[in-house]
C-alpha cells in the first residue's frame, strides 16, 4: 500500500519535471537510433554538427511522375539488414559539388525523423552512402535549438 503510494508520487513528480525540462535542450551522443515516419523502423544515425542538412542512403531510387508532380520511390536498409520502402514527393533537386570537384544531382524529400520523444519533419538528401557505416546522417537543420551533441557519448536515447 505504502509502496503503491510511493510509486504514484514518483510518477506524478517525474511527470512534472518532465514538463519542466521540455523547453530545455536535450544532450545526445554522436550516434543515435532514430525512427522514420511514425514506423517502428529503426536506423542508426550519425549526428553531424559539421553538416548543414541531413542525408540518407537510398537504394533503388526510382523517379516518377504523379499528377504532374515529381515523386521518388526508394528503399532503406538498416544495420539489422531490414528493408523499408518509402514513396515521397520530391521537394527539390539540388546539385552538390563533391570534394573531388564532380557535381552530383540529389533529390530532397521530407521525412519525419523521431529521436526519443522528439519528432521533426526534416528535409533529407537522398544519397549513396553505401560505403559509409551509418545510413543516415543528421545535420544541423534537424538539431536546431533542441539538441546538444556530446561527442564522447553514443546511443543515449532509449524509447
Amino acid at each position: 500500500m505504502l509502496l503503491k503510494q510511493f510509486i504514484f508520487i514518483l510518477l506524478i513528480t517525474s511527470g512534472v519535471s518532465g514538463q519542466a525540462v521540455a523547453s530545455e535542450m536535450i544532450t545526445i551522443g554522436w550516434l543515435e537510433n532514430v525512427r522514420i515516419d511514425d514506423s517502428e523502423y529503426r536506423l542508426k544515425a550519425k549526428i553531424d554538427t559539421g553538416a548543414d542538412n541531413s542525408s540518407i542512403n537510398a537504394e533503388d531510387v526510382i523517379e516518377f511522375s504523379k499528377e504532374g508532380e515529381q515523386w521518388v520511390k526508394f528503399s532503406l536498409r538498416n544495420a539489422w539488414n531490414k528493408h523499408y520502402s518509402i514513396t515521397k514527393p520530391v521537394i527539390k533537386t539540388t546539385r552538390i559539388k563533391m570534394k573531388n570537384g564532380n557535381v552530383q544531382q540529389r533529390f530532397v524529400i521530407e521525412l519525419e525523423v523521431r529521436l526519443g520523444k522528439i519528432s521533426k519533419l526534416v528535409k533529407v538528401n537522398l544519397v549513396d552512402r553505401s560505403h559509409f557505416k551509418y545510413q543516415l546522417l543528421i545535420g544541423r537543420s534537424f538539431l536546431g535549438p533542441q539538441f546538444l551533441v556530446d561527442s564522447s557519448r553514443t546511443f543515449t536515447v532509449t524509447d
Partner: protein, 148 residues
C-alpha cells in the same frame, strides 16, 4: 534520454575561433564537426625534416578564409602517419601532428591531421576526439566561446 547536461563541459557552437599558440596561429575559424573523429588542418607545402632524429613537418597555413596572401609557416612534431578516409570515400596518407589549441579559456593538446585539400571551406575541422573531454556542441549557435 539524458536531459541534464554535463556540468563540467562547456557549450560551444558549430563554428568557433580558435588559436594554436605553438604554431603561431593567433586565430583561425574552426568548424566543430561531430561527424569527424580526427581534427584536420588545411596545410600546404608540407615538408618533412629531422631534428635530432625527431620526425618533424614544416607547413604553411592560410588562417584567414578569404585572405590567401596571409601565410603562417608552422613546424610541429609528427606523431603518426595515417590513412584517412574522407566523406567522399577517398583514402589519403596524412601526417598527424600534436599541438596545443586554445578555445575560450581552455588550452589543451590535440591531434590533427594535415590535409592540403584546396576545396575545404574551413581551414580547421575540430573532430570528436578533440571535443569529447571538454565540450558539448550547440549546433544552433556560432562563436559562443570566441572572444577574438
Amino acid at each position: 534520454m539524458t536531459k541534464n547536461r554535463m556540468p563540467d563541459k562547456a557549450i560551444i557552437g558549430w563554428r568557433e575561433w580558435v588559436s594554436f599558440p605553438d604554431l603561431g596561429i593567433d586565430k583561425i575559424k574552426a568548424k566543430v564537426d561531430t561527424g569527424a573523429r580526427t581534427s584536420a588542418l588545411h596545410a600546404f607545402n608540407i615538408e618533412e625534416f629531422n631534428v635530432n632524429g625527431k620526425h618533424m613537418v614544416r607547413f604553411k597555413i592560410h588562417p584567414l578564409q578569404k585572405d590567401n596572401d596571409f601565410i603562417v609557416i608552422c613546424e610541429a612534431a609528427v606523431i603518426d602517419v595515417r590513412e584517412v578516409t574522407d566523406s567522399g570515400g577517398h583514402c589519403e596518407k596524412r601526417f598527424v601532428i600534436e599541438t596545443f589549441i586554445t578555445i575560450g579559456n581552455d588550452t589543451f593538446s590535440i591531434e590533427a591531421t594535415l590535409t592540403d585539400r584546396d576545396t575545404m571551406k574551413f581551414r580547421m575541422l575540430l573532430g570528436r576526439t578533440a571535443l569529447e573531454n571538454n565540450f558539448i556542441v550547440d549546433s544552433s549557435k556560432s562563436y559562443v566561446l570566441s572572444k577574438i
